[in-house]
Symmetry: C2
Subunit: 129 residues, 2 copies
């Protein structure tokens, strides 16, 4: 049995994927993969997601140079969520977020509102030329 | 504007939620919340999910005693994924998984197959009496 067959793909043929920076433990981003994206990710050792908005494979870093080396793939107890241990390339510290921040999870709930609490490390205009 | 209104709920009125153990950085589980579950989580300071299979609110630990204190709520750049920093209670080390393991992400891709690589810390039969 192929390891891809063991995944419980959702009604759209997708699985949610969490990317965690291996060295810091930081949760960097959350995205989706279809079967082809996950197969490519495993084959390349680099994150290839499925863009739900653009409806196509999205090799992370293809425009920004901010690729992600995938060290390890994990699957949860229900076989329907993937966790990846990654190294984020292209900047030090790593930038996973399209806003130029380290992690996509930069908004913290404080006093009844979401506050951006992490710095922009690089101007997004200069990331996506 | 209410902070709950800023979340982009999906077509089913849900948002994906990642629970990360604050002290270890380990990603413990992934689940879903509806508006009421997230409101209750913030109010209680304990994780309350929406069970998609049972179609009801699920106060984590209500049966097992393995509750989760929520220290921090984070929202991603697209306002459609929540990350929580938690402490897992009821066992040392914490057990988030219904299989009696520390984390739900205990299967690792190795040599083309998913291998369970984390120990069962407590027999699930004795967790859910």
């Amino acid at each position: 049995m192929n390891w891809l067959d063991e995944i419980k793909w959702d009604a759209d043929g997708l699985v949610p994927v969490i990317a965690q920076e291996r060295d810091s433990g930081d949760v960097m981003m959350f995205a989706w993969m279809n079967r082809e994206a996950l197969a490519r990710t495993a084959e390349l050792g680099e994150a290839v997601y499925w863009s739900r908005s653009r409806k196509k494979l999205w090799h992370k870093g293809e425009e920004s140079g901010h690729t992600q080396t995938v060290h390890e793939l994990r699957l949860d107890c229900d076989n329907d969520v993937v966790l990846m241990k990654i190294t984020q390339h292209g900047h030090e510290p790593g930038i996973s977020c399209h806003t130029g921040r380290h992690s996509c999870f930069y908004q913290r709930l404080e006093d009844g509102g979401w506050k951006a609490v992490e710095p922009v490390l690089k101007d997004p205009e200069s990331i996506y030329k």
